[in-house]
């Protein structure tokens, strides 16, 4: 059901770039460290094709770039030049005249073996130079992925940062009234398309997290009224319980190398943090307090772990070494802090903060300094990082009988977007960039 060809996409960079070699320095660039940047006007023309797919691919590329908040696709109705041959240099003055600083042209064709071939060129219209040209092959039913890969290539060329469009999100799909809510694990592309259910509604499931290295998810299920942490292989659907613990295990997450699951074990009134090595099956206890220690999250280098604990009274964020030594509190603001998640870049820890009757999503440095609140309201919870560490997704629950929805927000806090899902949704977890 969820099988996707991960090796079905081959990429050939540079082959097309010979005719119009790119300059070393580009006039068109976005510095995404500057904060509230002005989106870059970009013209994305329909890819040449003998069916509707050329327009569909252009539309997905434009939607990805627009949702990032860094690009402003120019309305197609304003286009002057009609691109007839994407291998020929465009009439740059036609594009600068409508203030398109960058131009994307492309073509999609069917190979003799049935595969799709998509090629594109990104032009700097004011410099009159090609910035990049690439081509990709894939199976026809994979065309949305192809568009996401092209959007990533454009994003990377112009911002200098890796993109995050060719990614997926695993989450909990919720339906039914709040007092009898049914939950299923689900997976979708980061833009909300291609939603597929991974479990049925029989058992309560919570907190899915992606493996950084495999097509694998760890999550919590109440199957058989035994709340436990599980592993799920996405390509085979195979499931297994993680470890043989004498109590509820919950709040799982992978280590950065994908070889361990870190989680909490509940024993009577206490929750402590354990790891289980997935190869040797050995378990290691990392915390040992008469408190609730949970929501562990590794730093990307695997050397440290952020977690939450109420050992000092209210929930606060702590950081410890990977062996459990050196446990230090890092959150000292007003209110309580929970669900720390270390950025894939290592520079920040995202969290949920409760203060003054509001639930906020924020970030702080790993030493606890530089706290910034990105969004605040009745109930925002559970941040997850895009693999480039520039965008967060979380869920928002309104007051009343409704259900939660997914939102994304960039690190500036300005670009907040709802991620549409077929029903209520919570507990998003972003995948690494697909390979």
């Amino acid at each position: 059901m969820i099988r996707r060809s991960l090796i079905g996409i081959m990429m050939a960079i540079a082959g097309m770039a010979m005719t119009f070699s790119a300059p070393a320095q580009a006039a068109v660039e976005i510095n995404i460290n500057k904060g509230n940047v002005q989106p870059l006007p970009i013209a994305i023309t329909d890819f040449q094709s003998n069916n509707e797919m050329g327009a569909q691919i252009a539309q997905v590329v434009a939607a990805d770039l627009q949702r990032s908040g860094l690009f402003a696709p120019v309305n197609k109705a304003a286009f002057i030049e009609k691109i007839t041959d994407p291998n020929k240099a465009p009439r740059f003055q036609d594009w600068t005249a409508i203030n398109a600083q960058a131009l994307v042209v492309g073509r999609v064709t069917r190979e003799a073996d049935g595969r799709l071939r998509a090629e594109f060129r990104l032009w700097d219209t004011y410099a009159g130079q090609q910035m990049t040209g690439q081509q990709f092959f894939t199976q026809p039913d994979n065309w949305r992925r192809l568009a996401h890969i092209i959007a990533d290539a454009i994003y990377e060329r112009i911002t200098g940062e890796k993109g995050y469009f060719d990614t997926r999100v695993v989450f909990v799909s919720e339906s039914g009234p709040k007092t009898a809510r049914q939950r299923q694990l689900a997976i979708m592309d980061q833009d909300g398309f291609n939603v597929r259910m991974l479990t049925n509604t029989k058992d309560l499931v919570l907190t899915p997290r992606f493996s950084p290295s495999r097509q694998e998810v760890t999550y919590m299920s109440f199957e058989g009224n035994q709340p436990r942490v599980y592993l799920l292989q996405l390509e085979t659907g195979q499931r297994e319980v993680v470890g043989n613990f004498p109590g509820m295990t919950f709040s799982p997450r992978f280590s950065p190398d994908g070889q361990k699951v870190i989680m909490s074990l509940q024993q009577e009134g206490n929750a402590n943090i354990y790891t289980m090595d997935l190869r040797s099956r050995t378990t290691t206890r990392l915390t040992s307090t008469a408190a609730i220690d949970t929501a562990p999250s590794y730093a990307p280098d695997g050397g440290r772990i952020a977690f939450e604990s109420d050992r000092g009274g209210r929930q606060q964020i702590y950081v410890m070494n990977a062996d459990g030594s050196g446990q230090n509190r890092i959150s000292f603001g007003d209110g309580s802090y929970s669900t720390p998640v270390w950025s894939p870049r290592g520079d920040l820890i995202a969290f949920t903060k409760q203060s003054g009757g509001k639930f906020s999503i924020g970030v702080m440095k790993p030493d606890g300094s530089g706290e910034r609140i990105l969004t605040s309201g009745f109930h925002n919870e559970g941040p997850t990082w895009a693999p480039n560490g520039r965008v967060l997704m979380f869920f928002r629950q309104g007051a009343g009988a409704g259900g939660p929805q997914l939102y994304s927000i960039d690190l500036t806090g300005y670009n907040e977007q709802m991620v549409k899902t077929p029903s209520y949704a919570s507990d998003p977890a972003w995948s690494p960039l697909l390979e």
Binding site: P227, M248, Q266, E268, A295, G382, A399, G402, Q405
Partner: protein, 177 residues
């Protein structure tokens, strides 16, 4: 793709500030509870006719005449004085009907994060089990499970609901039995 009807949601918020609507919502919430195995504390609240309407020793007897649930203060796991009275009755009833094993289900209100609330519900269940044990219920007749904030019985956006959801429910048999 369906979307959430946010205008309806905000209308509900507005309505919920009207005391009459709150009362109605609560009545509906209680009526909703009555359809399930878990009934509110005492029969008198619901006008069910009080003691005697349930067969002694039945699960209905336990739920209606003894009271199957206790409530907690925000973020607290200590068993309040009113809850101790309910648990004392539960212990007496369980002593009289020794064939029943029980599961104590711990719950949290929605005003917390998911992971913490799972642990908080477990703490409440453990505190309840501990109290029942201190009143003579053998530990081997008792199991606990936490549902965190995932199984609310009352739904609204104020304390009248949250206080009903911060609970430990003693279920005869119950999960995992």
């Amino acid at each position: 793709m369906s979307r959430i009807d946010t205008p309806a949601m905000s209308r509900m918020q507005t309505l919920a500030r009207n005391p009459a609507v709150i009362a109605l919502t609560l009545a509906l919430a209680l009526a909703g509870c009555a359809n399930k195995k878990n009934l509110p504390n005492s029969a008198g609240e619901l006008g069910l006719g009080g003691a005697g309407s349930a067969t002694p020793g039945s699960s209905q007897d336990f739920t209606v005449n003894v009271g199957d649930r206790i409530f907690f203060d925000t973020d607290s796991t200590s068993v309040r004085a009113d809850a101790q009275q309910t648990l004392d009755r539960q212990a007496q009833w369980l002593a009289r009907y020794p064939n029943y094993a029980i599961t104590v289900e711990g719950h949290a209100d929605e005003r917390g994060t998911r992971e913490y609330n799972l642990a908080l519900g477990a703490r409440r269940a453990a505190a309840t089990k501990e109290y029942l044990a201190s009143r003579g219920v053998p530990a081997n007749r008792m199991k606990t499970i936490s549902y965190g904030k995932e199984r609310p019985v009352a739904v609204c956006d104020d304390i009248s609901c949250w206080s009903q959801n911060r609970r430990a429910v003693t279920v005869l048999g119950g999960a995992g039995m």
